[in-house]
């Protein structure tokens, strides 16, 4: 009798270019996440991921060996997304950043001790509220923030990938976090968290 592993018909992965197998395939999980973030649903994410890999494989000889393959794949995915998917997806409402800034300053003046906020927000905000808050960010903020905090990319990689200066990466991440802070604060407050009382402590 054969071992079970021999019986199962696996994809003929050994037919793929060896370098591609080693360099590109391990990033599938990260890219799937990124596709989910971009498309906001698993069907489109699956299509986008497949399209990205097919393109990457077709243009594998264009990939400069030794450079960052993950960033290269992310770039292919972003371009594919822009070309084929973005027009079908409803973009979040435009945010008035100045208004958010004002709200943030109000919170700040009520809250002299950030440690209280830390505890209250962290314990009181539900996971799906965090997801909702992240999804509501303008796309250019969301993408940069998630690449940094979820994918763990460096500012340099993000700048390279988004084709923006590093200073812009810094300010987008900073603004994205401020926006999130305001939203999460609202959620925490709606959980019964009393701003005034904490302020008196």
């Amino acid at each position: 009798m054969l071992q079970d592993s021999e019986r199962i018909v696996k994809p003929p992965i050994e037919n793929l270019d060896e370098e591609f197998r080693k360099e590109a395939l391990p990033h599938m999980d990260a890219l799937y996440n990124f596709a989910l973030q971009l498309t906001q649903n698993s069907d489109d994410a699956a299509d986008l991921l497949q399209e990205t890999y097919i393109k990457a494989y077709r243009f594998w000889d264009k990939f400069e060996k030794g450079t960052n393959c993950k960033a290269w794949l992310f770039r292919i995915m972003k371009n594919s997304f822009i070309n084929f998917y973005r027009k079908n997806i409803k973009s979040p409402e435009k945010l008035d950043y100045d208004e958010i800034e004002e709200i943030y300053e109000t919170i700040k003046s009520n809250e002299q001790n950030p440690h209280n906020l830390d505890r209250e927000i962290y314990e009181n905000v539900f996971d799906d509220e965090i997801m909702t808050a992240i999804k509501s960010l303008p796309e250019e903020f969301r993408t940069v923030l998630l690449m940094c905090d979820v994918e763990g990319m460096s500012y340099e990689e993000i700048a390279d990938f988004m084709d923006i200066p590093i200073g812009t990466v810094r300010s987008r991440i900073h603004r994205a976090r401020k926006l999130l802070a305001v939203k999460l604060y609202d959620y925490a407050k709606s959980r019964g968290y009393n701003v005034d009382e904490i302020g008196k402590e």
């Binding site: 019986r7 793929l16 395939l25 890219l31 996440n33 962290y122 340099e156 810094r170």
Partner: protein
């Protein structure tokens, strides 16, 4: 560093994406500005929340395999072929020296090709087979099982496998026949399916991975060659795989390359 400049670098400080000189300046500012310290703590908090509470979803295995299959099918035909032959050789029937490879436990599916082309037809077929296989799991059929309404196929299958008590299923399959092997953890289907007017293709696969696997193209290519010649022989390591048509059914045989006699016998039987 003043407040304005600190605000510019606050995210870089939180993310540790700052050079040493700027870091010193920023930390120095932080130690004497309560307002900026507040911003810094909040930014840290938000980062912590996003990185710890944001759920990563791993890419589903099925999707991974589907993508790999689709990449492989972009390869040239000869490259593909080697891969599939390796797969075929993993099958236990092929381990015998003269494995007159009734690889298939066989099936004939009388589904008409879809008007939208083979791909749609193919996915429908996959769905039908898959659903039925899942259903079969609950029935404890014997390891070698064939489902068919064609008495000739039943008879051939029974005598070829020495089965004494064949069981016939009660399902309303669109398929006339399908061969299923019951492994411990999954069902493998050995199938013949019809995708042109009078042509039947054989495929062997894990039913879970049937969908979009690229086999269709593989067998079509072989079939095209068989219209010009009696058999297609592909050598691979110690084995030769011989494909031929029997009553418009594509059959695959595996033969030990050293066994020239077996090969001659097989070819002779074609006439």
């Amino acid at each position: 560093m003043d407040c304005k400049e600190f605000q510019e670098y606050i995210s870089a400080l939180v993310d540790n994406q700052i050079d040493d000189i700027k870091r010193k300046e920023a930390e120095e500012h932080l130690s004497r500005c309560a307002l900026c310290f507040f911003d810094y703590k909040i930014e840290n908090l938000v980062k912590k929340i996003v990185s710890f509470k944001f759920h990563k979803s791993p890419c589903p295995e099925v999707l991974k395999n589907q993508i790999i299959f689709s990449l492989v099918s972009k390869r040239s035909f000869s490259e593909q072929l080697l891969g599939y032959i390796k797969l075929l050789l993993a099958n236990k029937y092929l381990k015998t020296s003269l494995a007159i490879g009734v690889l298939l436990i066989a099936a004939i599916l009388l589904i008409k090709p879809s008007e939208n082309g083979n791909e749609k037809y193919y996915s429908e077929l996959a769905t039908v087979i898959y659903q039925n296989c899942k259903e079969l799991k609950n029935h404890n059929y014997p390891e070698k099982t064939i489902f068919t309404t064609n008495p000739v196929i039943v008879q051939n299958f029974i005598s070829a496998n020495g089965i004494s008590k064949p069981k016939l299923p009660k399902t309303d399959w669109v398929v006339l026949a399908a061969g299923i092997e019951n492994y411990d953890e999954y069902y493998a289907a050995h199938l013949l399916f019809k995708c042109e007017e009078d042509t039947v293709y054989m495929m062997e696969c894990d039913v879970d991975k049937l969908y979009k696997s690229g086999y269709l193209q593989f067998f079509k290519e072989i079939h095209n060659d068989l219209e010009k010649q009696k058999f297609v022989k592909i050598d691979y390591n110690d084995f030769s795989i011989v494909f031929r048509l029997e009553d418009n059914v594509l059959m695959a045989f595996a033969i030990n390359s050293n066994n020239q006699h077996a090969f001659e016998e097989l070819i002779a039987s074609l006439d």
